[in-house]
Amino acid sequence: MRLAKFYSKDSYMNKEKRISRISLLIVIIVSFIVLLISIRGLKGNPNSTELNNIKWTDNGPFELSPERGRFALLYSIVEDHSLHFSLPLASFASPDVAVANGSFVSLFAPGVSVVSIPGFIIGKLFGISQVGTFATIALFAFMNVLLIRSISIRLGANPLAASIGSLTFLFATPAYAYAVTMYEHHISLFLILMSIYLLLLENPTFRRMVIVWFLLGLSILVDYPNILLIAPIALYTVWKYAAFSVYKNKLRFNFYPVMLCTVYGFFIPVGILLLFNFYSHGNALQLSGSLETVKNLGITTQLGTSVDPRLKDIGTIQTAISSAETKAYLDKQVSGGDQISLNYFNTRNLLNGLYIYFFSPDRGMFYFTPVMFLGILSVIFAYKKKVVFFSVLIGIISINILLYSMWGDPWGGWAFGSRYLIPSYGMLSIFIALLLTYFRKDVILLIIFSLLLSYSVAVNTVGALTSSRNPPQIEVLSLESITKQVQKYTVQRNFDLLLNRDISKSFVFQTYLKNYLSASQFYVGVVLLILFTMTGMTVWLGLMTEDRVKTKI
């Protein structure tokens, strides 16, 4: 009898493990393949002058200034061994270029550029330096999928539901479009998820806590507003060092100062940031974002035929500003130096920001990733079930949404969907995994989920495979008056590129498949691959017997 019981339990454990392994394998294979074929790029190792060619900028992988600015810094570090941009690189990174001590410098935090250096170097060896760089971000997106899956399981989700949740994050949200280009969002999210994962492991060790603090510090190096986004994790970490107890009519407060020493991990990357600031623009405590930005880089946009003859063929601006006359010219071009970063967050923008993020046709969750509303719904259930770490997850989501709703530019410039909410999408995907676990037998919910998922995947795949260059609605009228043609600002703009102009910026498509497939056929293939996998997993989840989905809730 005992043996039979043991055998039965063992069999159950084996099945559980098998399901977990198979779903993990599916997640790894599908996300790896889809990311690989979706990475935007062109063949070649462009030099700084070639980078300014429209082939690489507007029509190519560096379509927007955030990618260009970060790549320019990377290129400058690797090829020019300098934190100051040469004139061609400044032109390339424009308009996100600042002037400090007579040099052009990057407006962005240096983290993304530095982290992407290995990808650039390896890519360069194969003649695809840009693709190698972008692949670094794709690698972080891939790791995010695995982390979301692992965290979901640790919070009580069924491995299959966790796998669906993690793939939902990657392919059914604008996170997909930003996994195949050079933005900071996936690295920021990776650092957040990794910290959460480490904190979820049992028995915190000294070394692990140092790593957590190090990762949190590193996130600031990637994107400055992360300092607020990581606050719930940091507070939770500190809270772990303290304990209250009542003993012999006394309230005892235990604090572990040894663990407090782990905070030094936080200051290592912060120290690196200060050093970067010092060497980049001469002031360790001044963030790049608060530097004087160059308002009009017309002086450099036409290389070799500069609109200002004084700057023609000079090379770097350092030489140019030795002339007082030229310096006066440059002074007219700069603005915004008196602002500090916190001024960008204004509570009066909140209502508009919330509208933009949730319901606007140009960026809203409702239009771009409605499946995430199920994640929001799941928050209520998770609250009732008292899910571990609930406060931290909800804290990150709330801070993310609130902070960027106060941001002066909630649209994220020209962008595809609400890119600033990618950390929230990561957290909401965990809640989706939990929702699917709780309601795995609810056919209606699974059908609703599949429908919303299909729509979201279709929308976000077109964004990833074509372009992130969608203007905000508020810019459209002025844009139309300049271009004298109708300008679309919703996902329709991406479908126009795909269907009417046969454009996909995928490196694999442009290099290997263009002669065999149209862009729309390529798109349909990718969507089918994703949907077939995810719908199949959803059906599998629905068909699973009751005893295989016991959770830790």
Binding site: N254, F255, F345, N346, I394
Partner: protein, 537 residues
Amino acid sequence: MKFTISLNQLSRISNFLVKNEVGITAGILSLFSIISFIVFYNNGLGLSYNDARSHLDIARRVVEGLKPGIAQLGSVWLPLNHVLMIPTIWNDFMWHSGLSGAVVSMISYVITGIIIYYFLKEFNVSIVGRLTGVLVYALNTNILYLQSTAMTELLLLATMTAGVYELAKWYKSHDFLRLIRASFWIMLSTLVRYDGWFLLFVVFCLLFIEFMRMDKKNLSTIAGKSLFFVTLGGFGVFAWLLWNLLIFKDPLYFIFGPYSAYAQQELLLSAGNLPTKGNFLLSFQYYFDAMVYNANAFIVILGFIGAVIFLLDKRIKSNSKMILVALFSPLLFNVLALYFGHSVLYIAGISGNTWFNVRYGLMMIPSFAILVGYLVHSLKPIQPILIGLVMLVTFFMLFNGDVVTLDDARIGASQKNVTQVSGWLRENTSNKPGFILVSAASHDAVIFSSGLPMAKFIHEGTGKYWDQATAHPSRWARWIVIRSGDNTDYLDKRINNNPEFINDYQLIGRYPFADIYQLKSKYISGLETQPIYPNQI
């Protein structure tokens, strides 16, 4: 590292805090109040609202001028705010610094904060929830600004919140002493702004329903109790009607008189500037935006969630939940006032690029503060996160100086930069004998900003002086301040065809909001320069 504290010690500290909770809360609120007044005053923002200057002038005219007396309270605004300024307004510093009016607002600010604390305590909200509620209210930048100036909003908030608090206590205890107190505070609110009249009506309806529930079909008891409430609660309304009858010979003068809001709204309507009239959705949108700009969107969202949780809370008796209606009465009142065209509100972005009366959105802040405090108390597992988020948003509101009421005052339709015209008057008339003829209803800001004594001006409230001076200006007025050709200037209406005005005066200067005329020198010999009607009634 270990810290220990005996539970007895902890209990002693706790008892001390509980025992002195009013004092401690009042102390902290007073500190916020004083700091905020100093900050706004030092930045020259204390009297940005044109209306603030008018309120101060109204109170000042009661104690100083050509015809001082209680009748100077007039009919344009309800009187309580001005009455409370009278003890201090005689002092020139208190008048011109605006402190006389600000003190009323500051005290009201502290009182409202304490009431919010007690309101939450009444519903067994923990100390954390109570303090959060108080801080949501107390650190709101728009509240902080309006408590630093001589406007009526904070006094209204204090009286209304006190009335609703006493009502909430009555709902729990059915103690008639509470009802008397509620009716007293509501009566005071009816003497501050017409929002109070609507609250009186709402509370009356709520009580009527509750009396019916309590006394079933005993109509005489229901009627008796209702009358009991209205007798004191409606006394302010009755007194105001009587005042209008006695002073202006028409009990509805405040509604239909030439200086009434109704008259202003009619002008706006004829110019097509009352977009909300007859459009309920637009009225709601305007007021909703006003609330959001005053309280900030996050607090408004939390407030509404708090209201839902309050409604669903099984621990609260269903009759006590009716208090929510009273808490939301400012929302209802303002939407209805906009819908019926009795009120005007401009929100930049919806109605062009200007603000007007956006401060009306402030009226819901105490209600939201109470509901947010309640929410924080109810959602214990995420209490630290909620408090952190509220503090984050509050920090940015304070750090970036997001004060929409200040924009309303400075760049909106409420603003009136009269520096030039008042500066000319100050420099050129203070050392010369003679009166200045001006319509206070149109140019109170000029009177205030000139820094001249009230007795230097002949205005609508000066009785015989006004009658005489508008009939024979060259005998009484050495200077005339008027917006020529503007039919909203009450003086212009009276003298624009007067031959004396046309022939005997020369235009000294045209300024953004008024022109100055000076009596030609050859007529000065016949000018009255001293008061001759000392005992006007």
